[in-house]
């Protein structure tokens, strides 16, 4: 028998409060029937002895205390899944948005997922060649990694994400085992359009599952958009054995939606008004990347964040970087100097690269040369600071060489065309050419054997 409750107790922003509901369970989905408007769904996010707080997807507009009937569905929000989801477009709660009808599911899965047992994880060790020297050489992307792009408004993070998707050799052998899940969280419609167009141009559209919550879509659905996307990714990776790349943009919008709901619930805020559980909440999504022992597929995540005011200490990038396995930070100054991709390499980091590069993975000199490039470029920053005080002419000869190295590094190594695809060998060789412009005595991160093998002593190195 379908039991419905008449009337609501209270409506507060995106939340509806029910009174005296029997048998409700925590995080259960409820269905509202609104007279003359239609149906909406919601999720129970807090229960007290008498009251149930429900967040309503699609917003609370048109709902009054008296025009609504409530039905408890008895289950949490579930996503219908089958291989048919490839090539389809869904909204933030997992309903088809492209007018092509419902999915006939093989299975349904709770969008919250269950935590992966850490002992079941396989430590990711296969690198993904993106064809971008800054990433491949210095912050190598690993299959099964979560590596966010920290950007700011007006910086080319979308171009970078698209170029990674286009050039990523994510599969060793079989291209059919590769899929992309794209989650747009509160982004402008032209951003979503740009991604769709790029997927189409690179001919991967039928390999893409899209979950779109655009800037004018209901805020509450921003909470479920990435979760639906990750549930789809888990299905493709761990049930269908595919290597899945998940792009989520923009995680700031997600966190702001969380804050909005938290403040409607009158919770005690912590930093910048964000709720105290922001870390755990973000982690419950980021930690869904990885590889599971004994299963074929993998989930690699590239979340994108546009840091408000380019502030990396803002709680969202700060907490994100504590959870993710590194970060790619984009730099406004490099963009203004015309360097694309403007990856600020000193602030960028791939935590997983230490065990996945070098002998047997990329090339034996990779860890050494990467370290030396980092160290030398860090020195360039010091020399530049000095030059801005005393002028470049007054620098010592060594320091002048560092100035030249810095410029060449940015123009030759970092800078790439939007369709330029460099392989690993080319990237590493380029690194050695740059390092060969510096005196041998300044190379403190390289072993004598590597210097003997790769360093160009002739002094003719460089450009």
């Amino acid at each position: 028998m379908r039991l419905e409750y008449l009337d609501l107790h209270e409506i507060k922003g995106p939340l509806v409060i029910l009174k005296d509901v029997k048998g409700a369970s925590y995080e259960e989905m409820v269905e509202f029937t609104i007279q003359g408007v239609g149906k909406r769904i919601g999720r129970i996010i807090r229960m007290t002895e008498e009251l149930c707080v429900v967040q309503v997807f699609e917003g609370t507009a048109d709902i009054s205390l008296e025009n609504t009937r409530t039905y408890l569905t008895g289950h949490t929000l579930q996503l219908p899944l089958s291989s048919e989801i490839l090539g389809r477009i869904f909204d933030g709660k997992g309903s088809p948005k492209d007018g092509l009808g419902d999915i006939y599911p093989d299975m349904k899965a709770d969008i919250n997922g269950l935590p992966i047992n850490p002992v079941s994880r396989k430590y990711p060790k296969n690198f993904i060649q993106t064809g971008l020297s800054s990433i491949d050489g210095l912050a190598t992307l690993i299959r099964g990694q979560k590596l966010p792009i920290f950007s700011g408004s007006g910086l080319p993070h979308n171009d970078l994400a698209v170029q990674i998707v286009r050039q990523a050799k994510i599969t060793d052998t079989d291209n059919s085992k590769f899929a992309i899940v794209f989650a747009a969280i509160g982004v402008k419609s032209d951003v979503a359009e740009y991604f769709t167009k790029s997927f189409k141009e690179s001919g991967v559209l039928e390999k893409v599952v899209m979950f779109l919550n655009l800037a004018d879509d209901p805020v509450v659905e921003r909470i479920t958009t990435p979760r639906c996307a990750l549930t789809a990714a888990e299905y493709l990776a761990f049930e269908k054995g595919m290597h899945v790349l998940v792009i989520m943009t923009d995680m700031i919008s997600y966190a702001e939606a969380l804050r909005e709901i938290s403040s409607s619930m009158e919770e005690i805020p912590s930093r910048k008004g964000f709720p105290g559980y922001l870390y755990s909440d973000l982690a419950s999504m980021y930690e869904r990347a990885g590889i599971i022992e004994g299963k074929e597929g993998s989930i690699t995540q590239i979340p994108i964040l546009t840091m408000p005011n380019d502030d990396i200490t803002h709680p969202v990038p700060d907490l994100t970087a504590y959870i993710t396995e590194g970060q790619l930070v984009l730099d406004r100054e490099l963009t203004q100097r015309g360097v694309y991709p403007p990856v600020s390499i000193l602030m960028s980091l791939s935590r997983l690269m230490k065990d996945s590069i070098g002998e047997g993975f990329t090339r034996e000199d990779h860890p050494g040369i990467a370290n030396q490039l980092f160290a030398s470029y860090a020195r360039v920053q010091e020399v530049r600071a000095l030059a801005s005080v005393i002028g470049e002419d007054e620098l010592s000869d060594t320091d002048k060489k560092f100035m030249a190295f810095g410029r060449a590094f940015e123009d030759r190594f970092l800078k790439q065309l939007r369709d330029e695809n460099r392989d690993m060998k080319k990237t590493l060789d380029l690194g050695w050419r740059l390092i060969s412009t510096l005196p041998e005595a300044e190379l403190d991160r390289l072993t004598p054997e590597l210097i003997a093998k790769y360093y160009d002593k002739s002094g003719r190195g460089g450009f």
């Binding site: 048998g23 409700a24 995080e27 259960e28 807090r46 229960m47 007290t48 002895e49 919250n112 269950l114 935590p115 992966i116 047992n117 850490p118 002992v119 079941s120 396989k122 430590y123 099964g144 990694q145 761990f238 005690i268 912590s270 930093r271 709720p275 105290g276 559980y277 870390y279 755990s280 982690a283 419950s284 980021y286 930690e287 869904r288 990885g290 022992e293 004994g294 299963k295 700060d318 970087a321 959870i323 396995e325 970060q327 000193l346 980091l349 935590r351 230490k354 065990d355 370290n371 980092f374 160290a375 860090a378 010091e382 600071a385 005080v389 005393i390 007054e394 010592s396 403190d444 072993t447």
Partner: protein
């Protein structure tokens, strides 16, 4: 559907991990309860007149109002006995490998699992006989738990009297009775090889002893400059990407402790996978056996329930105390205590408690101090001596060391290894900043170092720190006017500091000779650098330009000595010393000749 009887309460509200319970006023503070139909594990954290609040260690989604809450009568406890080492537990000591067997690669809720294997037979040597007096914490039997560790079975701390029915040496499981104790009140208590202990209650010991031995880590910046004592406390604060976890892993790998308890508290799942893949392959420098033989992992990754994150720290320290009681030196790494503090904050927020600084509860400092006070070098109840050293990582929000967790941790720890963003950017690891770090143990440990290295250890350490200090002062000037205008004496200081930074402080975790360095080699490296400094200062004083000294290549040889001199053969230092002597003699002769020619 809802069962209600005298011992059971029922759920009357859910918010995240916090559940309100009504109908059972007999629930005690910190008692363990089973919540809901799925019997999720929870702990009572607040008792009011008509309502009890429980934090649940598993995900609460799907709980209904009215479902039963069953009292267990005892506080949240850990099970202690052979079979702990080499295991990976979650925050409430459930073995994750068993969970995997039961529920596959994801963690389902409401699993009931035995913490330790109760079917495994251990080859047991009994150390007591009928009629012996039984004292608290007494060692009654021994079991080789792993090839590296002799597990000593102890009487629980609250049991004493006379032994009866003692069984002979043989193969026993941990639940078989191996002896009984008749107490003074003529009560008979059966003794097995395992007992339970509440996690929030420190295990008793005889008395505290002063610390005197360093915890050798094989990391030069720690062992030589900011040493940590066995039984001491240390904090590693650092923003993201500064290498906290890398440093913690290095310490877990190479510390000369008998047991390492590693708590991954609210961190990444892949890091646990990394430890599980790399540790079994690495050899303990002390025993030559696999590192897993001495390691216990407690893993509550950031996506696992937040309340269990709070518990993981207590679970870890209680296990550490148990091994300390056997007379072992235990090192406990907690990565990261900030996540633990945030778990406190999260639950406090759900309880709608009045927040203190930055939303953290007012009891944050007292909880931190209670935790760090469980470290120490002690004489145990059974007369043996053991220690617990705690090394806590701190993740300051926005890399701001003035935030409450860093500041309060600083108050209760005596070693402070500050990780530095600028060093990490330049890939200088370990990125321990030498100006912001300190060790308060230096005086207590000085006698040990003088005995085990050399009488001059203290002076040499001070000299190294002086050069580094001088460098950072000079760098302020160099930033404004450049290096060229400095007098040669100061230029030499900069060159020497460079050798210290690159050749000594910076350590390559991926190089076999450099990932772990024995104290003897560390000391020789420090000495040879100062020897060069002494000679070079003399040369510079006679007017030889620093650039000439650098061009000889000797400076560079010192930078490379960490790679070129193997850990097991330190003869290279004698060669280096001769090299420096030659360098000194050649240059002084050459310049004396030149000067004589000029004056003629």
């Amino acid at each position: 559907m809802t069962e209600r009887n005298r011992n059971n309460g029922y759920i009357s509200g859910v918010s995240g991990p916090v559940v309100s319970v009504k109908g059972n006023p007999a629930l005690k503070m910190l008692e363990m309860v089973l919540v809901g139909k799925n019997r999720l594990i929870g702990e009572v954290i607040s008792v009011e007149k008509d309502k009890t609040v429980v934090q649940v260690y598993e995900t609460t989604s799907g709980l209904k109002n009215g479902e039963p809450v069953v009292s267990s009568g005892s506080p949240l406890s850990v099970t202690l006995g052979p079979g702990i080492l080499g295991e990976v537990f979650d925050g409430i000591q459930r073995p994750l490998k068993k969970i995997e067997e039961l529920s596959g690669s994801s963690i389902q809720k409401g699993l009931e699992i035995k913490t330790l294997d109760e079917t495994k037979k251990w080859n047991t040597t009994i150390k007591i006989k009928d009629g012996d007096t039984a004292t608290e914490g007494q060692i009654i039997a021994e079991v080789w738990e792993t090839p590296a560790l002799l597990h000593k079975i102890m009487l629980p701390p609250n049991v004493s009297g006379t032994f009866k029915n003692v069984r002979g040496n043989g193969e026993y499981t941990i639940v078989e009775v191996i002896a009984s104790v008749e107490t003074k009140k003529e009560k008979i208590i059966d003794i097995t090889m395992t007992h339970k202990w509440p996690v929030k209650k420190p295990r008793p010991f005889g008395k505290r002893r002063p610390v005197y031995m360093p915890l050798i880590t094989g990391q030069r910046v720690i062992d030589m400059l900011f040493p940590m004592a066995k039984g001491g406390t240390a904090a590693i604060p650092g923003g993201f990407g500064t290498g906290k976890t890398m440093t913690q892993h290095q310490l877990a790998k190479w510390s000369d402790a008998d047991i390492v308890v590693y708590i991954g508290c609210g961190e990444r799942g892949n890091e646990i996978a990394d430890v599980l893949e790399s540790f079994p392959k690495l050899k303990d420098p002390k025993t030559g056996l696999s590192l897993m033989n001495r390691t216990v992992l407690i893993a509550n990754t950031s996506n696992m329930p937040v309340a269990a994150r709070e518990a993981s720290i207590y679970t870890g320290i209680t296990i550490a105390e148990y091994y300390r009681d056997m007379g072992y030196h235990v090192a406990l790494m907690a990565d990261s205590t900030s996540r633990w503090a945030e778990a406190l904050r999260e639950i406090s927020g759900r309880l709608e408690e009045m927040p203190a600084e930055e939303g953290y509860p007012a009891y944050l400092p007292s909880r931190l101090s209670q935790f760090y006070e469980r470290a120490g070098y002690v004489q145990n109840l059974n007369g043996s001596e053991g220690s617990i050293s705690i090394i806590g990582a701190v993740s300051p929000q926005s890399n701001d060391f003035s935030e409450p967790v860093t500041q309060n941790t600083k108050r209760f720890t005596r070693c402070f290894w500050a990780l530095d963003k600028a060093l990490a950017y330049a890939r200088h690891y370990p990125a321990i900043n030498w100006t912001g770090s300190y060790s308060e143990y230096i005086d207590e440990l000085a006698p040990w170092y003088e005995e085990n290295t050399d009488r001059q250890y203290g002076e040499k350490r001070t000299e190294i720190l002086r050069i580094l200090q001088e460098e950072s002062r000079l760098m302020e000037i160099v930033k404004l006017i450049g290096q060229d205008v400095l007098p040669d004496g100061q230029k030499l200081t900069l060159e020497m500091a460079k050798i210290i930074r690159q050749g000594f402080l910076q350590q390559n975790a991926f190089h076999e000779n450099d990932t772990f360095v024995p104290v003897e080699k560390q000391y020789k490296m420090m000495s040879i650098i100062l020897y060069l400094n002494e000679k070079a200062e003399k040369l510079v004083a006679t007017g030889i330009p620093v650039s000439v000294l650098v061009d000889t290549g000797v400076f560079n040889e010192l930078v490379q000595m960490k790679y070129n001199i193997p850990n097991d053969n330190l003869d290279g230092f004698a060669t280096l010393e001769r090299r420096i002597d030659d360098f000194y003699n050649d240059l002084s002769i050459e310049y004396n000749d030149a000067r004589r020619r000029n004056s003629q």
